[in-house]
Symmetry: C2
Subunit: 409 residues, 2 copies
Amino acid sequence: MLIVQKYGGTSVANVERIKAVAERVVRTAKQGNKVVVIVSAMSGETDKLINLAHQISPNPSDREMDLLLSSGERVTTALTALAIEALGHKAIALTGWQAGIITDSVHTKAKIERITGERVINALNNGYIVVIAGFQGITGEDGEITTLGRGGSDLSAVAIASAINSDLCEIYTDVDGVYTTDPNIVPEARKMEKISYEEMLEMASLGAKVLQTRSVEFAMKYNVPVVVRSSFSDNPGTLVTKEDKDMEKVVVSGITYDKNQAKITLIGLPDKPGIAAKIFTDIAKANLIVDMIVQNISSDGKSADISFTVPKTDINKAFKLAKDIATDLGAVNAIYRDDISKISIVGVGMRTHSGVAAQMFDNLAKHGINILTISTSEIKVSCLIEAKYTELAVRVLHDAFGLAQGATA
Amino acid sequence: MLIVQKYGGTSVANVERIKAVAERVVRTAKQGNKVVVIVSAMSGETDKLINLAHQISPNPSDREMDLLLSSGERVTTALTALAIEALGHKAIALTGWQAGIITDSVHTKAKIERITGERVINALNNGYIVVIAGFQGITGEDGEITTLGRGGSDLSAVAIASAINSDLCEIYTDVDGVYTTDPNIVPEARKMEKISYEEMLEMASLGAKVLQTRSVEFAMKYNVPVVVRSSFSDNPGTLVTKEDKDMEKVVVSGITYDKNQAKITLIGLPDKPGIAAKIFTDIAKANLIVDMIVQNISSDGKSADISFTVPKTDINKAFKLAKDIATDLGAVNAIYRDDISKISIVGVGMRTHSGVAAQMFDNLAKHGINILTISTSEIKVSCLIEAKYTELAVRVLHDAFGLAQGATA
């Protein structure tokens, strides 16, 4: 098999961890596989560099930040190749551009445009384990160093796996897979064997901790099978793959929650076309990221109410803007709440099972949890509730949908 | 003027030092100059990386070491450019390869083959201060990262200064110039205003601390005026330049010493052609670096004695080899001494002044310092003496040749 293995910052945090990575890589190669390794910077290094830059400049230029931040992965790439060589296996370390990762020129959050993987494939065919610096690329035109944004090494791994037609892309991190919910809240949370790309994307808050969202989108688009697993154990991880019949049997795959949202409601907006467009164009211009949007006809039947959520850290800026917009549009009032959280159930099985949302609402109600807002997609139902009920809601739903260890799904 | 400024590791050791560098650079630019800045890694960083590599592999590959070590200069290059921008001046950071520094493929001690400086010149013409990572380059053929060896940033600076026809190459370090001798031994040691390339090269032990030898050779070959000065003060430094009439008036420019040599003598070698060649070919094959070589007809007039010095750390290996060679060649005996030091006087004025060597010997004799071996070149006389007399000899000669502060040379 041709396998891409990506090791995150905690997996290469020090000399001992790097040696452990090398041992796993060489073991994989000795089992008859060709292996490409993508590494992140040693944990803490990127933050250290960012901190240095901010001590020097309140507003550092993106181009120079990329040059700065790309150095961390070069260190681990070289050290990992040395560790593999020390075990007696041929290894070659490549920077992003040496591996042919060509990006657009949007510094600090570049998009991969193409990967010219010949050098990687040649090295593999010559018996080398190829170690590639994650998170970084180069612009095709003028040879500028770029980085792919936070968590970008996951994207590097998936993109390279796709470019060289790898059979598998393993993402090694410090957790051993994707769980049905946060084990800190529900100790019985179960590690999933398999999850679909779509579910992984909808699991956002839960999933993003283990796998960068863009890398999941990329993997889905190019159908790259991804396994999330721990570099600290030999436990099998969670396979992220395209939906199969098997998955549909499970109605709800996971429960997620997000405590970092605040909700703004504009009350009594005129009920005519173009209002929502106007609001969210202005919000977007201010670089505010909106998660949920819900619109209802107002209680008087003649005007509309619109609610939306923004990250809690942006609430002051967002609410000020929202009030201005509301006034402009002739709304009655604008209010906000920041003592809320979002609870979601996710599962591709919802497509073929009815009554799932009702079951969710019913279980919350049974425990006295009031629902403030509801939003649904094809494979996800989200409710805003009072923040103090977060843990209770997660436990109730995890139990209600039979997700616990030992439970039959 | 077009000025290249190179800042060493102590000059960019932390955020405050980098800000100070940026201020000096911007000041230079505001005086109407175009400025190119070459930076080393923050002091201690390269050693830290080497240490990491050796913890991972007892014998790290040169190619991966280059990738590893080249990361340090990238960090300071980016940070320095950010610091300049923070002062309101346009700046662009370039890696070695972005600046067009093309080298051969001898990893960890690559030689610069050519510099394609268009990108640097374009940026200068567009009003940018150009900050370039020292110490590193790229192979022209296959795009491998190379480094130029310890002190290689000096060479980067001089080579770039030559490639872009810079008027001046300033090397900023933590000392404020080249002194007539070690101020730790002779407090009256005087900072030289000017020194010739040849003298700088002959000052080896003294000079190498402030300016890498290869960079001096390069500057001499391409006639690049180099100023060595401190980044911690505004003192004018020492100009290293081609020999001029002025310099010849000074008979002796500096006194150097070297305590790290040991002397091996082969006694009673057959006095016939090819003997010396045989000895030093074998020594070279063993990668031993020989400094002084002196040959004399032996006391019996029929055989020859050969003495040579090697670094003290190599004396065991070298003496074992020398004994074997001596036996092979039918020598009478082989002996060594490691309680010696080498004292040298250096000055281009020697070419036009006679009796300088005699004056040196006379002054040493007057203070009871016995001379073990003598070796001379056009602008240098070196004596091996007993190590315990080193400081005395340096003071005596510094005084005898009138090098003290306030003395008229």
